[in-house]
């Protein structure tokens, strides 16, 4: 059994896991918010069902590891249920706890990656580059069956889903950047924009520099979300501590990230330190989390300063990243910016706040279910005939790009940073 948190920070205050899950009164008002319930009609794949499964596990009334794990592993942890819930039961956190209780050992590969992230992030970057190079050389495709045979079908799926694999990363691209003496913000380089979508990271830096003043690029450690969701809490805690120390060393300016999943996790750091012996760290984590902002929050605040729309003739719509809209409640802010920059070509699509099925590793593990959600999302994009879909996290960018390649080549997925930076650039050009 993996270590579990045991206590959670809920909307109603700090609670034991059992108290948190018992707050679910089984009213069922969350059901239609849950993408996996809507897709399957299976109550055990609904927030209420998952809560009850965890609750029964804790009460010792359910001993069925295999199907309990199936119910919990199919949760996207999108958090839409919590948004719908009157008592704001933290289902995603409860599900993660349930998985920890059921998981025997953390998968060796996850463990390995987490350790590398902690001990030698530079080596991680090199490994990725090798992998990306192999993919560019066309060598990864024939290796897929081998990976699947070796029990690493996740890697095979990743190889299949991820199209963009640049041989330069954000660290390379910012090597010659000089940080100001007094930074207006510090950029938090999340792994997605850092290694997979450096174009997004560059866009964020250029947009934020312009809107907030020059910021700093400080080579932060990984946020630890991977370890938190799929690996060991001890690893997640270690990375959290590294980040907190790293940030404390460099003043008090806001910490701005551009992958909403990572940002939401940074904001939830205090939950990692609820044990009495971690009291001091809890305080530091709270101070750290207060400094964290999602880049899309800032674009929303600065929407008035964005240049008025320059007609592009392409319909633009917004797809909410789950970790932005649900735990962070960022619904209006990104739209304010997107609308200002897109002007009349902005249109709202149906189900914009529904998960696209990316959800971290979900898309690589539950490919069929993920594809169901993706098709629905692409259908909604197509019904407003959008050519540009704006979003704010790495998973969404990968998943949407895959969906458009597969089902709707007319559209492309952009991070809000790219869209905002593009508008600012165009403004200067004009």
């Amino acid at each position: 059994m993996a270590e579990s948190l045991g206590r959670l920070i809920t909307d109603l205050g700090e609670r034991s896991l059992y108290d948190a899950v018992s707050q679910c009164s089984r009213c069922g008002y969350c059901e239609q918010a849950c993408p996996t319930y809507v897709a399957t009609g299976d109550e055990s794949k609904s927030p209420r069902g998952r809560n009850q499964i965890v609750r029964l596990m804790l009460e010792g009334k359910l001993d069925d590891k295999a199907s309990s794990m199936e119910a919990l592993s199919t949760c996207l942890t999108c958090g839409a249920c919590t948004t719908a819930c009157y008592a704001k039961v933290p289902v995603a956190d409860i599900v993660l706890e349930g998985r920890r209780l059921l998981r025997g050992e953390t998968h060796w590969l996850v463990r390995k990656i987490c350790r590398i992230m902690i001990a030698s992030p530079g080596f991680f970057a090199v490994l990725l580059k090798i992998g990306f190079l192999l993919k560019k050389l066309g060598l990864s495709r024939p290796a897929r069956p081998l990976l699947r045979a070796a029990g690493l079908s996740v890697l095979a799926a990743m190889d299949e889903h991820v199209e963009e694999t640049p041989l330069w990363n954000l660290d390379d691209a910012t090597r010659h950047r000089t940080n100001p003496v007094k930074a207006a913000y510090r950029y938090f380089a999340a792994c997605g924009p850092r290694y997979l979508f450096p174009r997004v990271g560059l866009a964020t830096l250029s947009a934020l520099d312009e809107l907030k003043g020059a910021g700093a690029y400080l080579n932060n450690p990984c946020c630890g979300l991977l370890a938190h969701n799929y690996g060991e809490l001890s690893d997640a805690r270690e990375l959290a501590k590294k980040n907190i120390e790293h940030a404390e060393r460099n003043g008090t300016e806001p910490i701005v990230g551009d992958c909403s999943s990572c940002v939401a996790f940074l904001k939830s750091y205090p939950q990692l330190f609820l044990k009495p012996e971690d009291a001091a760290w809890r305080e530091r984590a709270a101070a750290f989390s207060k400094r964290v902002q999602d880049a899309i929050e800032i674009y929303g605040e600065c929407a008035d300063r964005l240049p008025p729309a320059i007609a592009e003739g392409v319909e633009t719509t917004y797809h909410d990243s789950c970790r932005a809209i649900n735990p962070q409640g960022l619904k209006e802010q990104p739209r304010r910016a997107a609308k200002k920059a897109a002007g009349a070509s902005y249109c709202e699509m149906e189900g914009a706040d529904a998960c696209c099925g990316g959800a971290g590793a979900f898309g690589f593990v539950h490919e069929e279910l993920s594809d169901d959600l993706l098709k629905k999302k692409v259908g909604n994009v197509a019904s407003v005939q959008a050519g540009v879909v704006i979003t704010s996290s790495t998973s969404c960018l990968i998943q949407l790009a895959r969906g458009f390649r597969k089902y709707y080549p007319d559209a492309k997925a952009l991070h809000l940073s790219e869209f905002v930076a593009g508008a600012l650039r165009k403004d200067h050009g004009a």
């Binding site: 109603l12 069922g28 239609q32 319930y37 055990s44 009850q52 119910a71 009157y86």
Partner: protein, 692 residues
């Protein structure tokens, strides 16, 4: 393995058997839990039919489930068996904007239908609080209400036809246009105990031109209720008339200040209609509110402002759900003028059991929801809360009300049915269940006290008004008739003029001439059925009230029994009926919203005297004239469907009432309950098409 046999017949992967999966079907929105033996997530009506046929063959209990949000334990598989989930039967099959109708599968979520209807300027009126997640099928099974039902009626008023898989696995289609007894009313609201609805034809309503919302605070519950009565008496029927008590308002305001008046009672009144009517009625309502003592009156017309006024009402349950892990949402009904009494009783009961009840009510129809927050893990507290809830319901019954206005009876209130109904009436309910589901496979052990259970207080409803002398005469006539004699039930014989057969005993209802109760506070009328329709209209006009009956010759009873117009059903609240075994049963009551037990009063419409003799009927009254057809079709005795004949045996075992009209059969063993839908029903063309 017999389950393997079912697995082969249904969509692959749709049968769940793992313990964790089954545990997710062991609960609903209430407290009880019981695990089924298997779950079928049906992908088609045919899956449902096959599964039920399989259950019938193996005598396995089956329980239909929509979203599983019901608050009365209705979908708990207490006897195990197969849960049949209808969640994936979620297609809107057709939507006929001009015909104001839609055909939907049972798993369609209420909100999804609302959204589609709105696109063509219509809406689906029933709006239970769970409308964002609950399904049309579940709403129909529970006969769900909602704030809007004061004006627009509950779910049964919006179902025109249904396709039903009956407990033997046969498939029937029942419509309001069918001849004979109104079987559709029996199946809607039966909480899945008589079959599974697999397709529904629902009525849609045009969106009103204008809507106005008024929020008013009153110095007392009495003042608020008096205001409600004066609004109804002024001929104004708001689309919603919601009330909250002070503790509820305070708990909402604690979370988010909305500026609700901090008075002992708050009314939220919403009007709709044409722009001019709405404005006129709003002015009138505001005046009536002030007259009743309301100091703070706020009104809004634009959607944002209106939503702000609603926010407190909508947020009430949400606020309570944050106070503790569980909230008991009790659901009782009283005649509207008894609302102040029930509030007092609830306060006494709460104090006695040391619980805090927050009151929300649909004041227009006397439907009250005491909400009690608690933690089910505290056994002692849970016991107190449950006891308090039950006492509150008992108080409703004692005040002449009912056990449930919209949540259903299910498991939670089945024993309480003995408070509301006499042993004779309960036996009739059971015989109806037996007639349709002799092996008790469809949602077993729900709705009625099970053998051996202790009802506690026994029958506590205030005695209904005494029968008239003439009614007693008829009862005696039936009781003293020699065994085996048959009866001719007749009113004024304006509709069926055949001579009485040799040897038959005449039960002439024309002597039942009493207007038993004309209640202008509650706007209800109880009248004996021998009263002539014309005379009744004349008498009511003298009092300035109106009833939904066409103007025609003959008696009220004859009109109801022959059902020449489907609209007769809309306002029927209760009946007193004489059965052929000499028992007199009291069905329904003086409350306008009531989902306790089978809807037998409506079932009796169109039964042509073959089920029982309707002695008295209770109907809703109106302060303004209601639209009724000017001419009625020439009535002729109906053809009875196989189901109608089965149900008849529940009422009249030996077929002694008007036997010339309904063929009787000693046994139905081996005979399917329903014929195939395509060869039954003379008017299938009147239903909107259901594309496959």
């Amino acid at each position: 393995m017999r389950l393997a046999e079912l697995r082969e017949q249904v969509a692959p992967g749709s049968l769940l058997c793992a313990p964790a999966e089954l545990s997710a079907y062991s609960y609903d929105g209430a407290l009880d839990r019981a695990r089924p033996d298997a779950v079928l997530i049906a992908r088609s009506a045919e899956d449902v039919r096959r599964a039920v046929a399989w259950c019938a063959a193996w005598q396995v209990p089956f329980i239909a489930r929509g979203a599983g949000t019901n608050l009365s334990g209705g979908c708990i598989p207490v006897k195990g068996g197969l849960v049949i989930s209808l969640a994936r039967l979620d297609r809107i099959l057709s939507l006929d904007a001009a015909g104001l109708a839609a055909c939907v599968e049972p798993g369609v979520v209420n909100l999804a239908l609302q959204r589609e209807a709105e696109k063509v300027g219509l809406f689906y009126a029933p709006d239970p609080a769970s409308f964002r997640v609950s399904t049309i099928g579940g709403n129909a099974a529970e006969n769900a209400g909602g704030p809007r039902c004061l004006k627009y009626g509950v779910t049964t008023n919006h179902i025109r036809a249904a396709e039903v898989v009956l407990p033997d696995g046969s498939l029937g289609r029942f419509s309001l246009d069918d001849e004979g007894p109104e079987l559709l009313s029996l199946l809607v609201g039966a909480e899945g105990t008589l079959g599974i609805l697999t397709k529904l034809w629902v009525k849609l309503t045009p969106l009103p031109e204008a809507t106005r919302t008024i929020l008013a605070g009153f110095p007392s519950i009495e003042a608020a209720v008096a205001c409600v009565s004066s609004i109804i008496a002024a001929g104004i029927v708001p689309r919603a008339l919601e009330a909250m008590d002070r503790p509820t308002v305070e708990s909402v305001e604690a979370g988010r200040p909305l500026g609700y008046p901090k008075d002992p009672a708050v009314l939220l009144i919403e009007l709709d209609g044409s722009r001019a009517d709405c404005a006129r009625e709003a002015a009138e309502v505001e005046r009536l509110c002030r007259e009743a003592g309301a100091a703070a009156v706020r009104a809004a017309t634009d959607p944002v402002e209106r939503e702000r006024l609603w926010e407190g009402r909508r947020g009430a349950y949400a606020a309570l759900a944050r106070l503790a892990p569980n909230v008991l949402v009790e659901d009782g009904v009283v005649p509207r003028d008894k609302l102040p009494d029930i509030v007092r009783r609830i306060q006494e009961i709460s104090a006695k059991h040391r619980v805090k009840a927050y009151l929300l009510f649909h004041a227009g129809d006397g439907n009250i929801h005491p909400n009690i927050a608690y933690d089910e893990r505290d056994a002692a507290e849970t016991a107190r809360v449950k006891a308090a809830g039950h006492e509150m319901l008992q108080a409703c019954v004692e005040l002449g009300g009912s056990l449930s206005g919209e949540h259903g009876i299910g498991l939670d209130k089945r024993d309480a049915m003995a408070w509301l109904f006499t042993p004779e009436t309960l036996r009739l309910f059971r015989r109806v269940k037996d007639a349709v589901d002799p092996r008790h496979l469809a949602n077993p052990d729900k709705l009625f006290p099970i053998p051996g259970s202790k009802p506690g207080q026994g029958f506590v409803r205030p005695p209904a008004g005494a029968s008239s002398e003439y009614a007693n005469l008829l009862v005696d006539k039936v009781r003293s008739a020699p065994a085996g004699s048959v009866f001719r039930v007749r009113g004024a014989s304006t509709r069926w003029r055949d001579a009485t057969a040799e040897g038959a005993v005449e039960l002439l209802t024309a002597g039942l001439g009493r207007v038993s109760d004309l209640d202008k506070r509650n706007y209800t009328l109880t009248v004996e059925t021998g009263v002539s329709v014309h005379a009744l209209h004349r008498e009511l006009e003298g009092h300035g009230v109106f009833v939904r009956l066409p103007r025609c010759g003959g008696t009220v009873g004859g009109l109801l029994a022959t059902r020449p117009w489907a609209g007769l059903r809309e306002d029927i609240l209760g009946m007193r009926v004489l059965l052929s075994n000499g028992e007199v049963v009291e069905l329904g009551g003086k409350v306008v919203k009531n989902v306790a037990g089978y809807d037998l009063p409506r079932l009796l419409l169109g039964s042509w005297g073959t089920y029982g003799v309707i002695l008295e009927v209770t109907m809703k009254l109106h302060a303004r004239a209601v639209a009724v057809p000017a001419a009625l079709p020439e009535p002729k005795p109906p053809r009875f469907s196989p189901l109608a004949l089965r149900v008849r045996r529940a009422f009249d075992l030996e077929g002694r009432l008007n036997p010339w009209l309904a063929p009787s059969s000693r046994t139905f063993e081996g005979v399917p309950i329903a014929s195939k839908p395509d060869d039954f029903g003379r008017n299938p063309k009147r239903l909107p098409p259901a594309p496959e």
